[in-house]
């Protein structure tokens, strides 16, 4: 098993009580593999304990990115949430910690330094 962060980076932020989590593969091979593996069901299950009601997935292949919209995940959002992370800033870090099965062509997916 490897953490998702070996093949992708990302960023997350708030949209009212919803959050977006962008996961960006380092290589086209990583994007292809991630597109199969990172389903909305899997992401919804991962963030289940935060009260997410629906997960939508969008593709931005130009940057090898998958963008997840997590509905109602922020316990009220910037103004009403009582959590430390009212704006979902840490959600991308959390998703990148997801343990995934090591793909056979992992070498083609890991980061080349920019």
């Amino acid at each position: 098993m490897i953490p998702l962060s070996m093949i992708a980076h990302g960023r997350s932020g708030d949209k009212g009580n919803h959050a977006n989590v962008a996961v960006i593969a380092y290589t086209p091979e990583g994007f292809a593999w991630m597109s199969l593996f990172l389903t909305t069901d899997r992401v919804a299950k991962y963030f289940q304990s935060l009260g997410v009601t629906k997960v939508e997935r969008f593709e931005a292949e130009n940057v090898f990115g998958l963008n997840f919209l997590l509905r109602d995940v922020l316990a009220g959002g910037a103004s009403q949430s009582m959590r430390s992370d009212t704006q979902g800033k840490t959600l991308a870090l959390a998703l990148l910690r997801m343990e995934i099965e090591s793909p056979p062509n992992l070498d083609a997916m890991t980061r080349r330094r920019p």
């Binding site: 009212g16 304990s49 969008f58 963008n67 009403q80 009582m82 840490t90």
Partner: protein, 456 residues
């Protein structure tokens, strides 16, 4: 607008020196000094900033704008003297762009810059028109919940439409050197100057998309230049440079930063920011255009220079987004340091004790939340649980009744002597009670809004 002293008719440089009210106050100065800019943009308005500014203005009609901008402008004086063609475009006007302009005028006079003209963009503030608009059939239905505005009408403190780029471009074409707006789409601070310089048509969706993409990338300041970058170890953020767009007339552009600054501009930093706070990246809605962020290609041209090409947009919608803020009770949160062994268990017990005491005196707040930070509680149930040598206990409460929240803030200190051993870190005094403003996203037909441009 003639081209600046650094650029040509076919290329301009726009730098953003502020991503929110509270951002680095030296960044605008450094950009003006080193950025070779045509336009310096400064973005001050988070979603709920308007509610705070609205209350300030209700108390004092002269206030209600981002006062940080006045201090920044004062420090920019010498650079404006040295660079006669440098323009500033900012949404610092908040709830009172005309009041902001009055202060700006006096700062310009102080620096002998009396020939500089100030453009004011208003018409976004719908608070005084709310009843009229409701009566005319504009429902302001909540975009997320479908609820009617009637349910919170009495508690509304601010209501603002996000205006587009055209009034900013108009102010510049009427000779404004400094443009002060109220609520506009953040990217409009970039699109307005570009559309004005290159005479982009307002139905040239691809170029408007390019401007919007550029504006979106730089609107959060250093987030485009290394801030939040997942590979943060690979750059020095202490002296991070703020972002600059070098826009071509045809809508291709580069993102870069001043030479000799820290941070980084590369495919990773720019890609992360491209998707930041985005829903469907193929349909990023602004008043100017429906931008498709899946169309541009990103190329690293040289160190800290990323080229963006091929932006394709679609026609704008017939609505403006409107952000309404309303009063929603009171909240407070406090923290204590809890030392181990069994730090997390002790912290949870302390939190429970505190809430039980409030319950006993009839002051239990409607909403409460206990976090043992250091034990995985920032994202409960997601992060792995660890056995920490110490944790920070954070308890937060919210209630419509201010007295209950005030009582909560008085129950924190007693834990230092009446809790389990190892409770410390009580140095900041009682948690402060703050008023909560909730956010109500909605839309309004564009023909109901009248953007106004004044140049003085």
């Amino acid at each position: 607008m003639n081209h600046g002293q650094w650029t040509t008719d076919l290329m301009m440089r726009i730098g953003n020196g502020c991503g929110f009210w509270g951002d680095n106050i030296d960044a605008p100065i450094e950009l003006a000094a080193k950025g070779r800019l045509d336009v310096l943009t400064l973005e001050y308005l988070a979603e709920l900033t308007m509610s705070i500014l609205a209350l300030q203005k209700a108390k004092d009609p002269q206030s209600g704008f981002a006062t940080d901008f006045i201090d920044v402008l004062d420090r920019l004086g010498p650079y404006l003297q040295a660079q006669p063609k440098l323009k500033i475009v900012t949404n610092a006007g908040g709830m009172n762009p005309h009041g902001c302009a009055t202060k700006v005028k006096s700062i310009l006079e102080k620096h002998g810059l009396t020939s500089r003209r100030i453009g004011i963009v208003s018409g976004d503030d719908l608070l005084s028109r709310l009843n009229e608009l409701l009566a005319a059939g504009h429902a302001f239905t909540n975009l997320d919940t479908g609820a009617s505005l009637e349910t919170i009408r009495e508690r509304v403190v601010s209501a603002n439409a996000y205006l587009g780029s055209k009034p900013i471009a108009d102010a510049l074409s009427q000779g404004a050197d400094i443009v002060i707006t109220g609520r506009v789409a953040d990217a409009a601070l970039t699109v307005g100057p570009a559309a004005n310089r290159f005479n982009w048509r307002w139905d040239d969706w691809d170029r408007l998309c390019a401007g919007t993409t550029a504006g979106h990338m730089i609107e959060c300041g250093a987030q485009a230049t290394g801030g939040l970058w997942m590979n943060w170890q690979d750059c020095d953020l202490a002296n991070v440079g703020y972002p600059i767009v070098e826009m071509q007339a045809d809508g291709s552009f580069i993102i870069t930063k001043p030479e000799g600054t820290g941070g980084a501009v590369n495919i990773e930093t720019v890609s992360e920011q491209l998707l930041y706070e985005v829903g469907d990246p193929a349909a990023y809605l602004t008043p100017d255009v429906v931008a498709d962020f899946t169309t541009p290609t990103l190329t690293q041209k040289s160190k800290d220079v990323v080229e963006v090409q091929g932006c394709k947009g679609k026609p704008a919608t017939d609505t403006y987004k409107v952000s309404i803020a309303y009063r929603d009770g009171f909240a407070a949160s406090g923290t204590l340091v809890i030392a181990g062994p069994d730090a997390a268990a002790k912290a949870r017990r302390c939190g429970d004790m505190l809430l039980a005491r409030l319950d006993r005196v009839g002051a239990k707040p409607r909403y409460s939340h206990i976090e043992c930070l250091g034990a995985g509680d920032s994202l409960p149930g997601v992060l792995p649980v660890v056995n920490s040598p110490e944790v920070v206990l954070r308890v937060s409460v919210r209630d419509a009744d201010k007295k209950k929240v005030e009582r909560f803030s008085k129950e924190f200190a007693p834990l230092v002597t009446s809790g389990p051993p190892g409770v410390t870190g009580y140095t900041t005094g009682r948690p402060s009670v703050r008023e909560v403003f909730a956010y109500w996203p909605t839309l309004i037909k564009k023909d109901a809004i009248r953007p106004e441009v004044t140049v003085i």
